[in-house]
């Protein structure tokens, strides 16, 4: 029962198929960065790479206002208090605004946290530019202390007319176990 004609051909096809298998396995993982890129471009899921934006250079559109709402949440097992100073602001597209977020660490130990943003509607995330934000970095907070964390932002004047309300949500996660050296350094200095 020897395989008849084309025996040498088999290895070539098998090699190609195996390469496809490996390629598709890699593609599964490549979907992860591709998804991020896709989200950045489309605002899919209100998700975007949270990066620092340059200050606004475009003219402020004073003809209309957009209601920007702030929602803060803490993750399960996270004992911090975390609230925006104001619930919402009404701004002109292009207008730069600073909003403070108040955090307190009621526990007896130093902690490090990271705020993760999400925007609704997802489309609006493309036009929300943060010049300065506590969410760019991990935030250290010593035991029993409070802090006000600023976020400076503006809406791109090109934001579509049909967007009247933008909701920005932050969820605070406990990162003490995975703190970056920069964040931990905050606790060392006062002791010195």
């Amino acid at each position: 029962m020897s395989a008849q004609q084309g025996k040498p051909d088999n290895t070539r096809i098998i090699r190609r198929l195996l390469l496809t298998v490996i390629g598709m396995f890699a593609f599964g993982f490549a979907l992860v960065p591709l998804y991020d890129v896709f989200c950045d471009i489309t605002g899919f899921n209100g998700r975007f790479t949270d990066g620092q934006a340059a200050a606004n250079t475009k003219a402020v559109d004073t003809s209309r206002t957009v209601n920007v709402q702030f929602i803060t949440r803490v993750n399960q097992g996270m004992p911090w208090g975390f609230e925006p100073e104001v619930r919402s602001v009404r701004i002109h597209p292009g207008e730069t605004k600073v909003v403070n977020f108040l955090a307190n660490n009621p526990t007896g130990s130093d902690m490090v946290a990271q705020a993760i943003p999400s925007v609704a509607p997802g489309e609006a995330s493309l036009y929300l530019n943060k010049v300065e934000c506590f969410c760019f970095n991990q935030q250290p907070l010593a035991a029993g202390t409070k802090t006000a964390m600023p976020m400076q932002f503006y809406l791109d004047p090109e934001i579509p007319d049909h967007i009247h309300t933008v909701t920005l949500s932050y969820t605070m996660y406990d990162m003490t176990e995975n703190a970056t050296p920069d964040a931990l350094a905050a606790f060392v200095q006062p002791a010195n």
Partner: protein, 373 residues
């Protein structure tokens, strides 16, 4: 035109009318839900017509073209014209379906400014509602008694579709829902509004509705979210705007009062019996779903409290885990779900029930001190 005709046919057909509640999609109480229903019936009737034609042809040949009737088989086996026809005609029908579908979808995405914004947060296995413009927030839990589920009591009319505190919204105003989750993915669904949106942990989704008729509307969590997925209903009461305004003002005042009351009660300590009684109630309502009524938990999934070192020794850790929860597990933070008295009582209960006889009591002031240390 065809849609109107079909809708009219639906309305006339006695079966469809009778079937509405029991066997068919609800027409709902919003303009969108009505459009969704019409679209559903349109597509359904188109499918029925195609079905009758295709199955009709099939049964015709099954009956007429049998060997037992002495039929000699034909030999044709291709026809480019016929093939093109039955590629193109379905394609045109699809375009006919896609047009109303697209316009309905776009109507659903209307992003005009809303009058009321409500943050809906799912967690295992309850919903939390927070009115964005007002200082009102609360949890909404299944209100059906355990005994009904376990068949020890007669099941009520709204079995599994009743909650302790329903969401209240105004009619005739645009209500915007921001939907998210604290743990796994849930899905907030009210069929009468044609709103179903996933609650994804860490992300917010939005949806909206404008209800035309006051009433009580019931739905359920629609995404598998763990053990008690079947037991986290959604109940929404739509009230006339004036009634709603009165309600929300009342709630705002009541919630403020409750907070003040709680601070006043801190000085009062409760005795063991009081704590155990209240503690048992709170435990059965909030903890028993996972840790079980007998405190033995479910091995490998939900830890036992009976005989647990934490419940027997480390009181501070015990208060911590109840108040703040434990990240990366199903253990939620109950600090903002229960009052200080309830927290104190349930911790006391866990330290003294099922043979955990520590004899220790925890008072509201102890919990308060822990939370503000």
């Amino acid at each position: 035109m065809s849609i109107k005709l079909i809708t009219a046919l639906t309305a006339m057909s006695p079966i469809a009318v009778q079937a509405q509640s029991q066997f068919n999609l609800t027409q709902g109480v919003t303009d969108i839900s009505q459009r969704v229903y019409d679209l559903h019936m349109t597509i359904f009737y188109i499918c029925c017509v195609i079905g009758v034609i295709v199955f009709g042809a099939m049964f015709w040949s099954m009956i007429r073209h049998r060997k037992s009737k002495g039929r000699k088989p034909a030999t044709f086996h291709e026809s480019v014209k016929v093939e093109i026809a039955w590629t193109v005609v379905p394609f045109l029908i699809l375009i006919g379906m896609a047009i109303p579908a697209t316009s309905t979808l776009i109507a659903m995405e209307d992003s005009s400014e809303a009058d009321v914004t409500i943050l809906v947060t799912g967690s295992q296995w309850k919903w939390h509602y927070k009115y964005f413009e007002n200082d009102v927030e609360f949890f909404s839990l299944l209100a059906t008694q355990r005994q009904q589920i376990e068949n020890k009591l007669e099941k009520g009319e709204n079995y599994l579709l009743e909650v302790d505190r329903p969401l209240v919204i105004p009619t005739d105003r645009k209500v915007r829902f921001l939907i998210t989750s604290d743990d796994v993915i849930h899905s907030w669904w009210v069929p009468d509004f044609a709103v179903k949106k996933d609650a994804n942990p860490g992300f917010i989704n939005e949806s909206w509705t404008q209800v035309n008729e006051p009433g009580i509307y019931r739905g359920q969590c629609a995404e598998l979210c763990g053990k008690d997925h079947g037991f986290m209903p959604v109940v929404v009461i739509a009230k006339e705007p004036a009634e709603y305004d009165a309600w929300i003002a009342e709630q705002e005042a009541a919630q403020r009062q409750a907070k003040e009351e709680e601070q006043r009660l801190l000085a009062m300590s409760m005795d063991m019996d009081e704590l155990m009684d209240l503690g048992e109630q709170v435990y059965l309502g909030n903890c028993a779903a996972c840790h079980q009524g007998n405190g033995e938990g479910v091995p490998g999934v939900f830890p036992a409290l009976k005989g647990s070192p934490m419940a027997l020794n480390d009181m501070e850790a015990h208060i911590d885990i109840v108040v703040n929860g434990k990240s990366g597990t199903s253990m939620q933070a109950f600090g903002n779900q229960l009052s200080l008295r309830e927290l104190a009582a349930v911790i006391t209960y866990e330290r003294n029930a099922w043979g955990n006889d520590t004899g220790e009591t925890v008072q509201a002031s102890d919990v308060n001190e822990f939370m503000n240390q």
